[in-house]
Amino acid sequence: MTNTSDPATATAKEHTTATSLRLEGLCRRIGGRPILDGITLEVAAGECLALLGPSGCGKSTVLRVIAGLDPCDGGRIVLDGRDITEQKPARRRVAMVFQSYALYPHLSVERNLSLGMELRGVAPEQRERELAAVLELLQLSALRRRRPAELSGGQRQRVALARALLRKPQLMLLDEPMSNLDAQLREELRPQLRAILCGGRAPAIYVTHDQQEAMGIADRIAVLEDGRLQQCGTPQELYHHPANLFVAGFIGRPQINLLPRADGTVVGIRPEHLKAVSSGGLPVRVLNREWHGASQLLLLESEQGPLRWTCDGNQALGDGLRLDWERRHEHRFQQASGERC
């Protein structure tokens, strides 16, 4: 996996036309209970959208409905201008990388990748060419004769990705493709995956529950909770202008400080926006501290509730600590509805 301009990438993507995806009020119910409740989204050609949310929020269901693996109980799916809501999964030209990778365990890497092309009637020479290109692109050439059981997690994930790319999809769906990998490998693979997904011509939807991963990979993030879309925007927008309390709390680590006010609103202030002042502000007491190297995270107690403060690693600590913040960094939410004021 090098940069996107090399010839291997170009070959792998040659036939995908620029497409965009639009979801209009997507609904999915199981036994009368709404799993997805009117999801409306747009993903542009070549854009990578992360679907982010806690487990059970319905994000994987969105993928399954788009792919046609689960029925759609309302709304429309429009891919490249055509309504595919009622189309059979096989005809949607949608590729999916499953969380478990779903590699065919009885076939070698090579066969895993070429069987689909063979059954779709791709000519042998073209098959060989595309296979070689994608093996090269994902650094799998040396492993082509191995069975999935003989591969490491990261290698399996690359094979699954290669298989999805060979489908020449008009839309790429990835369901927590990195959740089975260890943290270090995830971090290593993130830029490579980004290079492959973004800048392609097909849009990609990347499901994850890890906000750091979403921020690292996606152009835009859609936050889902309880089957409802909470907010969709660039990582910066989500961070600086969270639409509601849920998004504010879900995006950004360490978590935002939420201070309830008497007037029925909640003030949100990010831990890094607090600063020590000599007078005025909020008097606090240090409960605990985590040292992170360049910075440290302090867990504090104040009369308005607990606070998190990310400060300089050398910040002197004392009992008379007082904290304040600039009003422009403040987020205000309605306590009852959770919406931003």
Binding site: M96, F98, R163
Partner: protein
């Protein structure tokens, strides 16, 4: 447990299960006189004459072996050809339908088929299916279908659904998914189910006895019964034992050939793959 105790127990178990077979082998190699003189003795009276007699009978014994093999193979193929699609469909259905069909199949699988054979004989008479080896496959496949569907359905249900979904998104047709992805992964289950059907058909007695009367069309079980009852005055122990041994050789070969798949099939699902 001490090693010697364990070895003793294993030997006992082997003797228990292999004893009758070894006894048959022994009987088949003794002259009638030797058998009567000293049951279990090892001195004198060894002979291959029993085998000669069985093989040179009219029709020769290999004819019965061939008949049973043909019936067994066809019954197995027919059963699998019907059971695989049924099992697939059943495993992909949820809820009440699966419960009802599954329950019905289970009831059919445990029903003592011996109670049916008179009725089946009537059917065979009406349809003119008597003395026809191919027709014999119909009740065999029919009787084994419920069990085969249940076994294969469990095997289908055990495969992770993403495998098929992945193939579906790749554009595989239903047949292609079965042929290239699902069935290759179910090899052990298909083999052990097929062997169960084959064994049933190989051992089946009442239907074979009543449907087939022409001696050149007999399958093994009724043919051996004929050998046993061929003389009014003596019981041809030796010839009968020789026929038994010859009749089990093909089965043994088959079991040895598929040993690995059978064991894998039996323990399937015991631990997560």
């Amino acid at each position: 447990m001490r090693v010697s105790t364990r070895a003793g127990l294993v030997a006992l178990l082997l003797l228990w299960s292999l004893g009758p077979m070894l006894w048959q082998l022994y009987t088949s190699l003794r002259t009638p006189e030797a058998l009567l003189a000293s049951a279990g003795g090892l001195g004198g009276g060894w002979t291959l004459a029993n085998y000669g007699a069985v093989l040179s009978g009219d029709p020769p014994f290999w004819r019965y072996l061939l008949n049973s093999t043909v019936v067994g193979a066809l019954s197995t193929l027919l059963t699998l050809a019907l059971a695989i699609p049924c099992a697939y469909a059943l495993s992909r259905r949820g809820g009440l339908l699966r419960l009802l069909v599954g329950g019905g199949l289970l009831a059919a699988a445990v029903f003592p088929y011996v109670l049916l054979f008179l009725a089946l004989l009537q059917v065979a008479r009406q349809l003119g299916l008597a003395n026809n080896l191919l027709a014999l496959c119909l009740p065999y496949a029919g009787l084994q279908l419920p069990l085969a569907v249940l076994l294969l359905q469990a095997a289908f249900a055990e495969l992770p659904p993403e495998l098929e979904e992945s193939a579906l998104l790749e554009g595989f047709s239903l047949w292609q998914r079965l042929r290239w992805i699902l069935l290759p992964l179910m090899g052990p289950a298909v083999v052990s189910t097929g062997l169960l059907v084959f064994l049933f058909s190989w051992n089946e007695f009442p239907i074979a006895l009543t449907w087939i009367s022409r001696s050149e069309l007999l399958t093994l079980a009724p043919a051996m019964a004929r050998i046993a009852g061929s003389s009014v005055y003596t019981v041809p122990y030796g010839a009968f034992a020789a026929a038994t041994v010859l009749g089990s050789v093909p089965l043994l070969a088959l079991l040895l050939l598929f040993q690995r798949q059978i064991v894998a099939g039996l323990t399937q699902g015991a631990i997560k793959g």
